[in-house]
Symmetry: C2
Amino acid sequence: MWSRAVAPSARRCALRSSPTVVVQLRHHVIGRRVPSEETLAALKELLGDRLSTAASVLEQHGTDESYHAVAPPDAVAFVQSTEEVSEVVKICAAGDTPVIPFGAGSSLEGHISAVQGGVSVDLTGMNAVLNVEFENMSCKVQAGVTREQLNVDLRATGLMFPVDPGANASIGGMIATNASGTTTVRYGNMKTNVMALTTVLADGRIVKTGARTRKSSAGYDLTRLFIGSEGTLGIVTEAELRLFGIPEAEKTMICQFDSIRNAVDMCATVMQMGIPVARMELMDENAVEAINKYSKLTTPVRPSLIVEHHGSPGEVKEQSAIVVDIANDFDAKDIELANSIEERKKLWSGRHAAWYATISQMPGSRGLSTDVAVPFGKLTDVIVETQADLKESGLFGAIVGHVGDGNFHVMLPILQDDAELMRRVHEFSDRLVNRAIKYEGTCTGEHGIGIGKLDYLLKEHGDTVEVMRTIKKALDPKNIMNPGKIFAATSATW
Amino acid sequence: MWSRAVAPSARRCALRSSPTVVVQLRHHVIGRRVPSEETLAALKELLGDRLSTAASVLEQHGTDESYHAVAPPDAVAFVQSTEEVSEVVKICAAGDTPVIPFGAGSSLEGHISAVQGGVSVDLTGMNAVLNVEFENMSCKVQAGVTREQLNVDLRATGLMFPVDPGANASIGGMIATNASGTTTVRYGNMKTNVMALTTVLADGRIVKTGARTRKSSAGYDLTRLFIGSEGTLGIVTEAELRLFGIPEAEKTMICQFDSIRNAVDMCATVMQMGIPVARMELMDENAVEAINKYSKLTTPVRPSLIVEHHGSPGEVKEQSAIVVDIANDFDAKDIELANSIEERKKLWSGRHAAWYATISQMPGSRGLSTDVAVPFGKLTDVIVETQADLKESGLFGAIVGHVGDGNFHVMLPILQDDAELMRRVHEFSDRLVNRAIKYEGTCTGEHGIGIGKLDYLLKEHGDTVEVMRTIKKALDPKNIMNPGKIFAATSATW
């Protein structure tokens, strides 16, 4: 069931919409699997008005924040419970229909695209924080809860969920891509902060994995297998999350340098000395300039690091003093401490706006973000080479990075109708990924494979991908769970 | 191939040795699979003198630190490279012969027992630290390296590998059981500190998983699937580990209380306030008394917490001052700061000797250690109930615990020939695991399932175990990789 010819009757509206689409989708569209009338009727009977086939709804559910072509599903199921997800999957499994989970739609690699058609399972209605257990410093949420909603809900408890990918993603989506972000250098990513999951498998079985404890050695770690599996093994409906106390004190500073090499080398030194940082974010000149224009700031246009410490007042004072000394060792030109909550917020709102700030530099553009991570010792070289490559290629792009984790993004505004620009952007991105892999890095630190990095996964992991595929086939023999993601459906052996 | 009758020709020396053995092994001995003459000849040709069938060698390789009966393999392969492990596995796969990895033999759940016979793959010859990369704060080691050897090798670099399960386990063994220990509250466990693996699968394929980067979202997380899989999915031969700087300053104190409730409640408060601790170890009165006798110490016999801080001199001073305040809030009777390296070492050498100290209380005994972990908010109740149960049962046992992680052990000296004592010990252990599961905890925080907790895994994870088994069957269809561990081979469908 892993190989299918293109059904002549398949709806092809999305595929016909532009020539670019054909190029972008060539890897993964083997055959659309349109739900049969029986499948749609069974879903309608289950969900009533909560099953939609309205064109605008379909279009929205095939669209994320990425540059990838829109590939709408054939129907959208607005689910309200784990049991309902299970019923939807059972109906789709019986009808051999793809099932694509949908959260906030903030993916950057086309994860929610219905590249083979099928039913989008919209989890935004499952947005309850089921409980907050202060004593265990944990909470249980439904997958549709967004991270901002969760932190607003938590505020009165003095606790927070720290993983911050920038976008107001849903917890389910963050689990699907193993999201991380600015605070991961201190608090970890989804793999370290998700304790347990409820997941609906490809046959509709509901399984609970993990434990409500800080640690367990009881059997295979299915929780961490599902995290980052991008909906290809099951649909996560509930998650138990680890929480942290909101820090007593926070101290934020921006350090500016004449060269990006000094900025990254300083960051490396901070990490190697083991100075605890809560965030350490790099912005190159282009990022600073774009943010200045977009957010009406006047930060001097230089390579910059925003460094933040969390802890007791004494700890953050001591830590930030050491970081100032290190910054001076690397010839920092300006070091500005945020002295008030307002100044802190201004710094971070600028950084968080980097994506839209960069896109806004080219009217009518969308954005493409690279996502490599490299071993820490190679980071400076890779960033310096990448900046030089960007200049040589004549492209506009802004470099921002979670450099404490060896992960950085080049954000590039793109015009999908400009074939020459797209070719240069893709070539630049390709050189960057190859550079990262040459330095034993990864093509994706936090965005996932989706439909955008299928070939790179093979390049990075080689034969190991076959082992991943063995697990996929064992758990989803009909390949109905988000097909075409992670694994390209090009091979006749599928 | 998952179901086998008992081969009449099977060697049964281990199974015949005592009636206790039969009881303990009833769950998992479905059939021994003795290597054929062809298999042994092929191994001999590959390894020469490094294949042993000497009785004493076989006996040693069926013996760990646990109370479980000795089940020796039929041969031991002393391997020297990943390629050699691959060849051994290929030969065994062709001959349908079980393969059991062997490291330091410090397992507490019978992981290295050859319960179906087969070939023990001794990795102690693969004990090279392949490289230490200071800039990336990582190193690559062969699986036979022990954690103490690694830290001695690292000393000159100023770096350390922090995971400390107490025993001088091999890194491969620590990966197999997802080990953790005293420092996990600060530095994490094997899942957070192993970045990449080289693993030999059941068909002899050599696969590399993970990345040399701090994070990656590239495909399924096979690294964390293999960690804690107890050799049932493959044999790990090399690992890339995350390292940490040896802290500039360390401060250790022992706080003593009149009641164990106050000791555990204090620990909960420290965690909930987010005070960074590097270790926080509970010892009950019995543990303190046993350690006093064994290590010739004079610590007052009271429930005690050893608390340690790592950081800069300013940080550890501030943190330990806060902890002293909290301890006083919980009516601490004595708070003693270790003022010198010698005093620090004395405190920790006592704690690390707890296992042998407890066993030494009963001449001629071996030890049984429980390993439950519970949600943090339930820890005090579970420990108080367990201590009361221990007293009521009239058994001698010492409670020690990594209480910052909600994980504690009851160490019980046992005499395997004393059927009445064994019955009472098993009943106590059974009540404890059921209590932990009732409080949504886990039967094993860090020791693994092995052959000792097969039924509890089912009790804890129910139908989810079937999903684990699906993965096992997909990756090891002949069930040759450490069979009888994690999954009981009782079902006719195997």
